[in-house]
Symmetry: C2
Subunit: 367 residues, 2 copies
């Protein structure tokens, strides 16, 4: 399966006139080779793919990698073997791509020095941005199936937690209940630290659950996701508890409309910035634009945040196979907040919504 | 509290003839400023300390930082504000230290360009290694107390799990039970993914728990830790289940002796490499040197792996306030493994063992 992925990366590498790409970002190493472990580097060249790891992972790595990937087991510091692999796989005057957004300055300096030591060559490193990320943004069928499974586990887990009741429990207790339910439904873990935030705490997009008891008559935001077979899901529901008061009720209604409008607009070919504008327009029209201080969404896959990005100035357009979140939010400092988020796969002619847990109906009145 | 830490970093910065240090590694940012969040950079200069973050963390950051730290809230990409802070706090011909082991090549190139844009200056970046890490290696009283609490929570959690019985449960079930017990005893989480490995799976130092049921008559390794107030603990116990057979029994006895010898040797002034040699000598003498394929231990604090390192070629010596693991292991491919690990604080005249869960007695016979 990863052979097709490597072919797409090789095309991008050739298009940038590079002789090879050294992949150091672990999720990308996994994506391109199958290797799952904490110490691995992949070298992708026209003539072959080499995975470098150390003795602790030798047995596991040989079992994990896909056909067409050569495993080299060496010292724990992989850069020496990386230089050797690059030397073997590229011409003497090669320009070798490295992942500039991930490789550290020390690694870059050392790899340059090691390449120079391998003889009278003039290989140079060229920091690149977004090569594997761009390929990973478009998921293959196996990946979409894995994210779908992760989303289903999160749906089931949230249903369990809400069936237990949440009012009167602390935010931390509910966050733990989410993790426990994710585990029970078969997740390898949570895809990020679950957010459970009621009342004023929900005015922070990145709220941390507290020891405060969840009151009635407010909004409660739960943002959660599962990891299944290495792939993440991401979903937010804001619960309308009793009567949250007119400000928060109105914020919920506006956010709900904005999210629906954006979901309806998801299709191949729409610009990521335009999709953001669909939701933002609804919120601005209601006079709440200032209260929506983040982008509309982001890609999800092996990582919880990956390409593409949906935001005011985000580049690019949606393509079939992309999986993104649609998550407008409205945050009222000191009072509370609302965010409604679904996970969506872009299809050939529209979108498949992967998260299916029902959303609370907008509170009535004042519309 | 962090003022004393910043003073120690300033001394190290001055000793390397730098005008300032840009700290991008988040655990070090937290250590030096008190900021707890996922987007922060600290600039440490003789004239002051600036913490840069974005609007999502503005309220939280202002509440978290210690006296003497100026908070600047700006764009989500912090490098522009970082360049401005560096320009304000350093002379025009400054050499500015950056964390070469953490700053990416892209960040380095961008910060260099941004500094050049700030006017007709000739500030240069100088990648540095280990400045904050060196300071963090020696813990203050508050840190030692936090690690002690984390170790106590892990002790209590392991006792609970073992009281439930482990034979016949799957490795994954027991790993989950550990997480559940850590949570119940007040941990913020596990300090790393718990390892539960029985029989041949324990021959891998970094074993991943499987769905296999734990049999009787073997060795079972449980490697676990808690996070409390941001600080980690780390402890491994190998349980002797029934009769593990002569090879594994002998491996347990040797590892137990090696660990005891190393614990007895912990004191200020001993070289990190010499301490490794104490344990390794016992294992080599028993003819099992090849089966101990990793270093003796590592520092523990805000991160589960930090300075100092205890290994064959590790530099440096122990000093009061350091907290390290002592964890020799013996791994017999296809059969099983043993690792026994305690967390130890170096004191003025010896050591305080922070992990107190009892170790299984060495199996009798064959000695």
């Amino acid at each position: 399966m990863s052979a097709a992925r490597r072919a797409r990366v090789r095309e991008a590498v050739a298009a940038r006139e590079l002789s090879a790409l050294v992949v150091t970002h672990l999720p990308s190493v996994r994506y391109l080779t199958g290797y799952v472990g904490s110490n691995g580097i992949a070298v992708i060249a026209p003539e072959g793919t080499v995975l470098l790891t150390d003795a602790r992972y030798a047995v596991a790595a040989r079992g994990q990698v896909d056909d067409g990937v050569e495993v080299v087991v060496g010292a724990r510091d992989l850069l020496g073997d990386t230089a050797a692999a690059v030397t073997r796989l590229t011409p003497r005057d090669a320009t070798v791509g490295v992942e500039g957004a991930h490789m550290t300055m020390n690694q870059g300096a050392r790899l340059t020095a090691l390449l120079a030591e391998t003889g009278d060559t003039a290989r140079t490193l060229s920091p690149q941005t977004g090569i594997v990320e761009g390929v990973r943004a478009v998921k293959d069928a196996e990946e979409i199936a894995a994210v779908r499974r992760a989303a289903a586990v999160a749906d089931d887990a949230l249903a369990d937690v809400l069936a237990q009741g949440v009012v009167g429990r602390t935010e931390r207790e509910v966050a733990w209940a989410v993790l426990e339910a994710l585990h029970r439904h078969g997740a390898e873990g949570a895809s990020f630290e679950t957010i459970v935030a009621a009342g004023p705490n929900a005015a922070r997009p990145h709220a941390v659950p507290t020891g405060a008891r969840i009151p009635g008559d407010t909004l409660l935001t739960i943002d959660m996701g599962a990891v299944v077979d290495g792939y993440c899901s991401d979903m937010t529901r804001t619960l309308v508890l009793g009567d949250p008061g007119p400000d928060l009720a109105e914020a919920y209604r506006v956010c709900h409309r904005a999210q629906r409008a954006a979901l309806d607009a998801v299709r191949p070919g729409i610009a990521c910035a335009d999709l953001d504008r669909v939701a933002r327009g609804v919120i601005e029209e209601a006079g709440l634009g200032e209260a929506f201080g983040h982008g509309l969404g982001h890609g999800v896959g092996l990582e919880i945040h990956e390409a593409p990005r949906l935001g005011r100035e985000a580049p690019g357009t949606l393509a079939p196979g992309m999986i993104v979140t649609i998550e407008p939010g409205i945050y009222l400092e000191g009072r509370g907040g609302v965010r409604i988020e679904d996970l969506v796969a872009v299809t050939e002619d529209g979108a498949e919504i992967l998260s299916s847990h029902p959303k609370d109906a907008p509170p009535r009145g004042g519309e």
